[in-house]
Amino acid sequence: MTQTIAKGPEELADIARRARIQILDAVAHAKGGHVGGPYSAADMLAALYFDILNIRPDEPDWPERDRFVLSKGHSSIALYTMLALRGYFPVEELRTFDAINSRLQGHPDVTITPGIDMSSGSLGLGFSGALGMALGAKAQGKDFMTYVMLGDGECNEGVVWEGAHVGARYGLDNLIAIIDHNKLQQFGWRGETVAERITPYTDNQLADRWRAFGWHVLEVDGHDIAAFLTTMDDAKAVVGSPVAVVAHTIKGKGVSYMEGDYTWHSKVPTDEQFAIAMHELGADSGGEQ
């Protein structure tokens, strides 16, 4: 019984647009933070927090809630923004991101932030925590779902494949792993020039690897919200094995000069860049900031 509060893909896309505005505002205000990864994940996070997840913002620790773990924890500002827009805490609090004594730490901290189900940030570990939630739910006879989002660069980590093996071994069909396959990592391997970086996984490599580890694999355009919702429905219907949704995305999606540029993994915009981004995101034409 999902507590759906958005009216459909168009409204979810608008939530994602507003989230991108808030994300860049928070990073600019903090003078630090990640942008590219939060932007590649924003559409999927909007779909999760405003449609897919069965959660109660006024009761963050509700035991029967669906779990969500942002294993790519460096995209924390995207998660905080979605939690704020969903009502877990005031949107104004996003401007405390990375400030001293803030509940909104650089990487998610389960001990202080409402709505965070697991700390993450050392890559690959959030995934194993999510697997434990799913296995524990099976042991307790609970029927909530556990969702976990990983980066494609994060899939370099050995612990991801340790967990992939064990998750398949226990047939964790109550867990869906979403891989934000934005084709870039922080620095990555060099291409023809220094500015050109090579995707960590080409063609079908990522899907093939998850499949080889015994996971049911679905692929989707992570910016096509209608398709993503359908894919997640399909994923929930899978019985007997965990599902990896390989979501093809664009790092920095939504702002022209950021898209596909690895340097926007983590960078603070200049005033001019900030103005251009806000214009492109519709912040100066009735859009919310």
Binding site: S122, G124, S128, L131, G132, G136, G163, V166
Partner: protein, 314 residues
């Protein structure tokens, strides 16, 4: 000269006790890193197969999964060799267990010098130093099968992460059934007046035997067992040290940062006294029979007595 009664290995007492506790405490689950036939979680698997989770050889993942299970109110008991928990999965413990203060019990099996012909890769005797330096972590090293049983019961009801040190060989019995383990409390094992000896874990039995050797020479050892290295029983450490005015620490562990380190830090601040740290030096281990290893690395009862004697007579 009194001698100690032979006893079971701590690992056996561990396997039996968690199996017994799980009969009434349904929160308990066991995660095994493919070593259950050695660490004796096989005893648990036989009786509670539905609450035994084989994790294979995936230590980093296993500790992370334990954290996830703990968020649901389960009490995961994670078991494999100490080296693979403390050293290999250190980051999982730090980020997913210690920082969130999750209720995971870490069972470091085959800890110390005596890990059955395995050599330096498996001999883990810096585990206490490493776990002691991690915020939010409690560190317990029991002496014998009786204390192991009592301490396991205590830590199950003690919220938060606990590192529990377990060893492989059979260990002599120090305590009787009337003794009571309490987290954070040191206990006087033998009253004496010449030198205070602090020991922990299975080294306490060797320290006791050393004290008996020295008693025959007119050196009266005051032996204090310190099963909880963190939080340290500062009050008792200071009081028992002052009782004789000089201190030896002894442990089946490196002298860097373990029990000896903790007590030297404590006495340095609260009661500066002459102190000698005895234990494994700043080295890695090697393969060999238990007796040969204890002799070569200097922590047999005789070698322990030598160290105490030398200190007292210096």
């Amino acid at each position: 000269m009194s001698t100690l009664t032979p006893g079971k290995a701590l690992r056996v007492a561990f396997g039996e006790t968690i199996t017994e506790l799980a009969r009434t405490d349904l929160r308990i689950v066991v995660l095994d890193g493919d070593t259950g036939s050695s660490t004796r979680t096989d005893i648990f698997e036989n009786e509670h197969p539905d609450r035994f989770f084989q994790m294979g050889i995936t230590e980093q993942n296993m500790l992370g999964m334990a954290a996830g299970m703990a968020t649901l109110g389960l009490i995961p008991i994670v078991s494999t060799f100490s080296c693979f928990i403390v050293s290999r999965a250190h980051d999982s413990i730090r980020v997913l267990i210690a920082q969130p203060k999750l209720n995971v019990k870490l069972m470091g099996g085959y800890a110390g010098l005596l890990a059955g012909m395995t050599g330096k890769t498996h001999l883990m005797f810096d585990d206490v130093s490493i776990m002691r330096s991690m915020a939010n972590m409690t560190v317990v090293a029991p002496a014998d099968e009786i204390e192991t049983r009592q301490a396991l019961k205590a830590i199950i009801d003690y919220p938060g992460p606990v590192y529990f040190r377990l060893t492989r060989p059979n260990s002599p019995i120090i305590f009787d059934d009337d003794s009571r383990f309490e987290v954070g409390k040191a206990v006087v094992v033998r009253q004496g007046s010449d030198v205070t000896v602090f020991s922990s874990g299975t080294q306490t039995a060797r320290a006791f035997e050393a004290a008996e050797i020295l008693a025959g020479e007119g050196i009266d050892v005051h032996l204090v067992h310190v099963p909880t290295i963190k939080p340290l029983d500062v009050e008792a450490i200071v009081a028992e040290a002052r009782r004789t005015g000089r201190v030896v620490t002894t442990e089946e562990h490196t002298i860097v940062g373990g029990l000896g380190g903790a007590i030297a830090e404590t006495l340095g601040e609260h009661a500066p006294l002459p102190i000698r740290r005895h234990g494994l030096q700043d080295v890695f281990g090697e393969s060999g029979p238990d007796d040969a290893l204890l002799e070569k690395y200097g922590i047999s009862p005789e070698k322990t007595a030598d160290a105490i004697r030398e200190f007292v007579q210096s």
